[in-house]
């Protein structure tokens, strides 16, 4: 059981539920795949399959175990269940830097999170597919993009964004959402902001590390984790430690160490 402090690292370890949101095909699952497996699949099928992944992130003072919840495509017909957002301590809202409408959609998700999720949720806005822009992505700092189009582009205004599309240089730069437009929005809403490339790995680990650092210590105490019924002290309160571990019933057949 990796939660227990005695496992292998002396650092305190906490679980963080992270939900992943964004328009279809912006690369949500690819970002997670890069983070979890350091892997990338070209032309990945829409997400069906793994939608609940875990990955550890080691900080100087503690270890954060991300429980990453993918939407499994349930966002398509506005059918995400309340349990998807419930108790999420972090959210990754992803858009595609080559597709202005995906930023509009991302803004909807941010509003939805502010309405539905826990008040203290840490939200990171992430512009993915940086490899398709001239910024390339080998510079992990994601140098500021040219700002020309963002000056004219109204927030969430697809018409303006399409105008910007026409102004694109013929250099092969597919960027249609400027860094400044998105970062200004992120600043206004108090979001973390990154541009990433899941394909070549730019900034992916940085996003998760930044989220891990931004999670307040206080919210980690109530983190989700392995709480076995057997280890509960008599009369202990509050109930976080009084959770019943269903795995106990089939201890013989259940895989060892699976307790989340």
């Amino acid at each position: 059981m990796s939660e227990s402090a005695s496992a292998n690292a002396p650092k305190p370890s906490s679980s963080v539920k992270l939900v992943l949101l964004g328009e279809a095909a912006v690369g949500k699952s690819s970002l997670v795949l890069r983070f979890v497996n350091n892997d990338f699949q070209e032309n990945k099928e829409p997400t069906i399959g793994a939608a609940f992944l875990t990955q550890k992130c080691t900080l100087p003072t503690r270890t954060i175990k991300f429980e990453i919840w993918d939407t499994a495509g349930q966002e398509r017909f506005a059918s995400l269940a309340p349990m998807y957002y419930r108790n999420a301590q972090a959210a990754l809202v992803v858009y595609d830097v080559t597709k202005p409408s995906s930023l509009t959609k991302a803004k909807h998700w941010v509003a939805e999170l502010q309405r539905q999720a826990s008040p203290g949720i840490v939200i990171a806005l992430v512009g993915n597919k940086l490899d398709l822009t001239n910024d390339g992505g080998d510079d992990a700092g994601a140098s500021p993009a040219p700002q020309a189009e963002s000056e004219s582009g109204q927030e969430g205004n697809e018409g303006a964004a399409e105008d910007a599309e026409e102004q694109l240089p013929a250099s092969g730069d597919a960027r249609k959402v400027s860094t400044r437009e998105a970062s200004t929005y992120a600043e206004e809403e108090g979001l973390l902001f990154f541009e990433t490339s899941a394909k070549i790995g730019t900034n992916v680990v940085e996003v998760f590390t930044a989220i891990a650092n931004a999670i307040p210590e206080s919210s980690l105490k109530t983190g989700r984790g392995a709480g076995g019924a057997g280890q509960t002290a008599l009369g202990s309160r509050p109930g976080e430690d009084s959770r019943v571990n269903l795995g106990d019933r089939n201890a013989a057949t259940a895989k060892e160490g699976c307790a989340c």
């Binding site: 069906i48 499994a72 017909f77 109930g239 009084s242 959770r243 019943v244 269903l246 106990d248």
Partner: protein, 532 residues
């Protein structure tokens, strides 16, 4: 895919109750192309769980639509609990600002998760088995259901030192140790109780070998069975009845219903840890389980659309040559085709409403933690988050009535903020009489706890569904070779295992012989989902 009519479906499932959600999960993992719809904008149908705001919204439309509910009404006691002024319906935020107000208050709407159909699972339930075998339990958190209590208006001990509500409640002994320790039971009664408990907790095969006990007659009323076979005195019959969770009056409960359920109760204690036999899912009970089921089903490839009802069905029937003979017209204007359609009677417009039992229910948010109802009674046991209270009809001035059950959820269930509790009431009496019984029971509990315990908010409603009766198990109705419906939703307080068999039967009807039937709900962990 942006449109539901883009391609035909193998199965359309209408309604997102637990039965439908588990069926969707099973089918999605058997390679079926599943579309799972709900006419509501929330999951769960009659098993949904709501915030305060969602509950008001629900109440406003449930009385006007074809639903398995009637007569829903919310009372907000917040404004002025003591002086009962004119502000009864005003919200918390409208209280005058400035003056310090130390009265207990409702928290924000979303701090609450109120279940329309609250139930718990016994630890040996088949449902727990499939939650484990399908691996969806990883996304759920469970809390223990602890003690059973019987309301006894006369304090059992004149010199009782107990504080809180338990002054007027007698804890039901759930095992032999409890019986020994119980100071309210006479030695003679203890002996008869022990004999009864020993008899019914015998393993099945041992019982069969025992010639003398073989011809036990279970057709008689449970009360007669206890008196004639074990000489259990009257005052211990209600406590035993409460362990069966029978929602019928004592004289109407048969031994064939009660005895297997008391066995289930006793056999469950300790199966998942010491000191408890039941568990309740955090954050809205069954609603959370079905949502996790739907999510896992989506991971398996099913497509989910809320707010999408079925307006009409055209069934090609037997004569149809089509591979997808069922044509479904949706509320969003789309027309879709499917090989099979299955849903609840309330989700399929062409299906007549099945005959139902009606129960009265209430949900009360109380300004007390009721700490004394959640004792840890065995060393090493988790702190229970739920307790079951039974009020025999005669203790509420209605001797012929079925008992009232209250399930009290502490804040550890995640259903409400700290220092508050949710009281879920249920009685198998419909109409004003049922609501009056519930109100009386909740009042008795609040009074027993003391003056600081008040109702902050409450909702009552009449719910239509099915009570397990120990007879015919629930089954899927076949309307044509392609259209099936589920029986009415369960009104039981503990999950009845026969439901799992029914879901499996529905699954078999649809997958046929394509899949080995013993693989029902057994899935491997997906890559990356387990701990390292």
């Amino acid at each position: 895919m942006e449109s539901l009519s883009e391609h035909p479906w193998d199965v359309i499932i209408a309604g997102t109750g637990l039965d439908q959600s588990l069926l969707a999960l099973a089918l999605s993992r058997s390679g079926k192309k599943v579309l799972h719809l709900d006419q509501n904008s929330y999951y769960g149908g009659s098993e949904a769980a709501f915030s305060l705001d969602e509950a008001s919204e629900w109440m406003n439309c449930v009385n006007q639509r074809r639903t398995p509910f009637e007569d829903a009404k919310i009372s907000n006691h917040q404004a002025s609990p003591q002086s009962a002024s004119s502000q009864v319906d005003s919200a918390a935020s409208e209280l005058p600002q400035g003056t310090p107000d130390n009265r207990p208050k409702l928290a924000a709407s979303r701090a609450y998760t109120l279940s329309l159909s609250p139930y718990f699972l016994y630890t040996r339930s088949e449902l727990i088995s499939i939650l484990i075998s399908s691996k969806v339990y990883r996304q759920l958190e469970f809390m223990a259901v602890g003690s059973w209590w019987i309301y006894s208006p006369e304090p059992p001990n004149a010199e009782s030192h107990e504080l809180g509500a338990t002054r007027l409640f007698h804890r039901v002994p759930g095992n032999r140790e409890d019986v020994f320790a119980d100071s309210n039971i006479s030695m003679k009664s203890k002996r008869t109780l022990m004999r009864f408990l020993r008899q019914i907790s015998k393993p099945q095969d041992e019982e069969e070998q025992d010639e003398t006990e073989e011809k036990e007659d279970l057709s008689m009323p449970f009360a007669d069975y206890l008196s004639s076979n074990f000489s259990v005195p009257r005052d211990l019959q209600d406590p035993l009845l409460s362990l069966s969770l029978s929602q019928l009056a004592q004289q109407d409960t048969s031994a064939s219903y009660a005895v297997p359920r008391i066995k289930r109760h006793l056999a469950s204690i300790g199966a998942l840890g010491p000191g408890f036999g039941g568990v309740v899912s955090k954050y809205g009970g069954g609603s959370e389980i079905l949502q996790v089921g739907c999510r896992a089903s989506a991971v398996g490839g099913a497509v989910y659309a809320l707010d999408t009802g079925i307006q009409s069905i055209t069934d090609g029937g037997l004569s149809s040559e089509s591979e997808h003979p069922v044509e479904v017209h949706l509320s969003n204007g789309e027309t879709i085709r499917s090989r099979t359609l299955i849903g609840s009677a309330w989700d399929l417009p062409s299906i007549d409403q099945p005959s139902c039992t009606k129960v009265s229910r209430s949900i009360t948010i109380a300004s007390s933690a009721f700490t004394s109802l959640f004792p840890v009674t065995t060393e090493g046991a988790p702190v229970p988050a739920s307790a079951v209270l039974m009020f025999p009809g005669d203790t509420l001035g209605s001797p012929q009535s079925p008992p009232v059950y209250l399930q009290v959820h502490s804040s550890d269930t995640g259903d409400c903020p700290r220092q508050q509790s949710i009281i879920y009431g249920s009685v198998a009496v419909s109409g004003p009489q049922g609501h009056a019984l519930l109100e009386r029971a909740v009042d008795r509990l609040l009074q027993a706890e003391g003056t600081q315990a008040i109702a902050l908010w409450s909702m009552r409603y009449t719910q239509l569904g099915r009570l397990s009766n120990g007879g015919t198990p629930p089954s899927i109705q076949t309307h044509s070779p392609h259209v099936y419906s589920f029986p009415p939703p369960s009104l039981d307080l503990a999950f009845e295992d026969e439901t799992v068999d029914m879901i499996k039967q529905a699954w078999i009807k649809i997958v046929g012989d394509e899949v080995a039937h013993d693989e029902f709900m057994i899935f491997e962990d997906r890559e990356g989902t387990s701990d390292d």
